[in-house]
């Protein structure tokens, strides 16, 4: 129990209420999309009806990389990044460090995509790193970008989500300080004496259980948004004369002395096999510096294996394949800074205990959405006498239901445009069309009960449409998924169908309105 003076409590209450009210709906967008992109990788795989290679970068590809290296300007052999999309296609980006017309540093080179199973080259694109397109990743990229920067241009988007992280931190800390009976609030039974008291008790109950989670997410999210934008800029200005590249090189680990003597690359497959044996899973990302030179280095990055906490990175000498040792994400040897940096990522993405921890993170994310929306509703109900607040109150169901409907619609648009290959256009377009329709429905339909039923019905229908369209457009049923080891696609199909059926049931079932035992009266809603 925290004792606060009346004046302090009043100020904290104002911070808690206004932080949630002014930025509440934007916060809801970031939290809901954050809960969804906990499964971004799985959504990517699901959207293309599974992958043929479960660990694409563990497949033999040394010969293919040698073949592709012979097709690019030698200048682009300076750096090579290897990564894969949800369909299991490998991208090989041969590049050098260049600057765009506005002076902004950007990698420039040639990016190939190829199928690791057949070895067939699928695409070849040349230009700056931020110009390449991958239509098959349109859905998961769209969702991730919406969460990370609300699709605003950089660095404005990162500032926006960072400010929302601060708002969530302010709401979480003030919510914690305001609790008069912290333990009791964890087990409060929502009162039935009035609608407002019932809503307040539900908000307190969900908020009390979600408090540590809200604090962790707000803190790590604000760090992730601000570190790469305002953080690097500030520290580089103060300690590196404004040279951000030098700061990044110092943090990651200074490159060794150069040796440009030509040298045949060692067997990449053997190095990656050794790295996978040490890490317990195949690489998620591979970087090769100075390909074809005596000072070439191969960095194999592995996500935490099932049951493991930390990701791993192993370094090899590119010219003879000698193992040089593990490399921390930060610095050249293990340090407190590296451990803290790793912990921030692990806590934000919920990857500390495999799939189970991510499912828990998803569920807690949905609980925080509930806390945000019920907090907003409480604030607005207390001010229901004001026409302005009443009009603003309409925005809660519009955004509350409109956002998940629009997210589902972006998936529907993705599938419908799959055959034409226009997913990059139609995925965001579907989101915007559905968002516009949801807003129009919310503005036109005056009856609140009807509005909620319609929204729930629409959400249920769009969720059910997703697995059906995946099956119809992707052409692969569950038996094919089981054969190729794509169980996650079946799981997502079932989860979406179950969620959709649940919402359709709520929309169609005739439930009796709760009867409040007490007379509606003014209470402190927050």
């Amino acid at each position: 129990m925290i004792e606060l003076s009346q004046a302090r409590s009043k100020r904290l209450l104002a911070v808690h209420g206004w932080a949630g009210t002014v930025l509440g709906l934007a916060l809801y967008v970031v939290i809901l999309t954050g809960a969804v992109v906990v499964f971004a990788h799985e959504i990517g795989t699901w959207s293309v009806s599974g992958t043929r290679a479960q660990q694409p970068l563990a497949a033999p590809m040394d010969a293919k990389i040698r073949e592709l290296a012979g097709q690019v300007d030698p200048e682009y052999l300076d750096d090579l990044n290897l990564f894969h999309n949800g369909a299991g296609h490998i991208s090989a980006f041969f590049h050098t460090h260049a600057a765009k017309d506005d002076g902004h540093p950007m990698d420039k080179g040639v990016r190939f995509t190829f199928d690791p199973v057949t070895g067939e080259t699928l695409t070849r694109q040349e230009g700056f790193g931020d110009e390449f397109e991958d239509p098959l990743s349109a859905l998961d990229h769209f969702l991730v970008e919406l969460h990370v920067n609300l699709h605003a241009p950089e660095p404005v988007g990162l500032y926006l989500t960072g400010i929302l992280g601060f708002a969530m931190l302010a709401a979480a800390v003030s919510g914690f300080l305001l609790h008069r009976h912290l333990i009791k609030d964890l087990f409060v039974a929502p009162r039935l004496s009035s609608r407002l008291l019932n809503a307040r008790d539900r908000h307190i109950l969900a908020g009390s259980w979600g408090l540590p989670f809200a604090f962790v997410l707000a803190f790590t999210g604000a760090f992730l948004s601000f570190a790469g934008s305002i953080g690097l800029m500030t520290i580089s200005m103060a300690a590196f004369g404004g040279d951000q590249q030098k700061l990044i090189e110092t943090i990651i680990g200074m490159p060794e002395a150069e040796d440009a003597t030509p040298a045949q690359p060692a067997d990449l497959d053997a190095m990656l096999r050794q790295s996978a044996e040490m890490s317990g899973n195949g690489p998620a990302f591979v970087a090769i510096t100075h390909y074809g030179r005596a000072d070439a280095r191969v960095y194999a990055f592995h996500l935490a294996a099932e049951g493991g906490l930390q990701s791993q990175q192993h370094v090899f000498k590119g010219s003879d394949g000698a193992y040089l040792g593990p490399k921390p994400s930060i610095g050249t040897k293990p340090s407190a800074g590296d451990a803290a940096f790793t912990l921030m990522g692990v806590l934000h993405f919920g990857t500390f205990a495999g799939l189970l921890s991510r499912v828990i993170w998803f569920a807690l994310g949905l609980a925080m959405c509930y806390v945000t929306l019920t907090g907003l509703q409480l604030w607005l109900r207390r001010r229901a006498d004001s026409p302005l607040w009443r009009r603003l109150g309409r925005s809660v169901p519009i955004v509350g239901y409109g956002l998940p409907i629009a997210l589902a619609a972006s998936g529907i648009s993705f599938f419908l445009s799959l055959s034409a290959g226009t997913m990059l256009f139609w995925t965001p377009a579907g989101f915007l069309i559905a968002a516009g329709l949801s807003i129009a429905i919310g503005c036109l339909l005056r009856d609140e009960t009807q509005l909620y039923r319609l929204y729930r019905g629409l959400l249920g229908a769009t969720l059910i449409a997703l697995p059906l369209l995946r099956w119809l457009m992707g052409g692969i049923g569950w038996d094919g998924m089981l054969e190729s080891g794509n169980d996650i696609v079946i799981l997502l199909d079932l989860a979406l169908a179950a969620g959709g059926l649940g919402y359709l049931y709520i929309a169609l079932a005739h439930r009796r309105e709760p009867r409040w035992s007490g007379v509606e009266r003014e209470v402190a809603a927050e």
Partner: protein, 98 residues
């Protein structure tokens, strides 16, 4: 308490807004920029660069809630101004030696 600052434009409410809003952000940014000067470099020589980035949200939250909860606004204004000046001096030293 309010009478302490209720002179002219700087009412108690506006002063608290200034301290909890722009001042808390300014101090957090300045403290982040000044930390590499005094924070231990650690085993890999990067802790003094990484921890300021990680602690930035905590630096902001500390300044923000101090401004919100302070009963004596005059003292809070003095403390926060002093912190800003100390961090500015640290940044100046860092700038000179880098």
């Amino acid at each position: 308490m309010a009478s302490q600052s209720d002179r002219g434009w700087f009412t108690a409410k506006r002063t608290r807004w200034l301290l909890g809003g722009p001042m808390a952000v300014l101090i957090a940014i300045m403290a982040m920029g000044a930390m590499p000067l005094w924070f231990p470099t650690g085993a890999a020589g990067v802790d003094h660069l990484v921890f300021p980035l990680i602690l930035f949200p905590a630096l902001w939250a500390a300044g923000f809630f101090y401004a919100i909860l302070a009963e004596n606004l005059r003292r809070a204004a003095l403390v926060m101004t002093a912190l800003a000046l100390i961090n500015a001096a640290c940044i100046a030293v860092l700038w000179t030696i880098s």
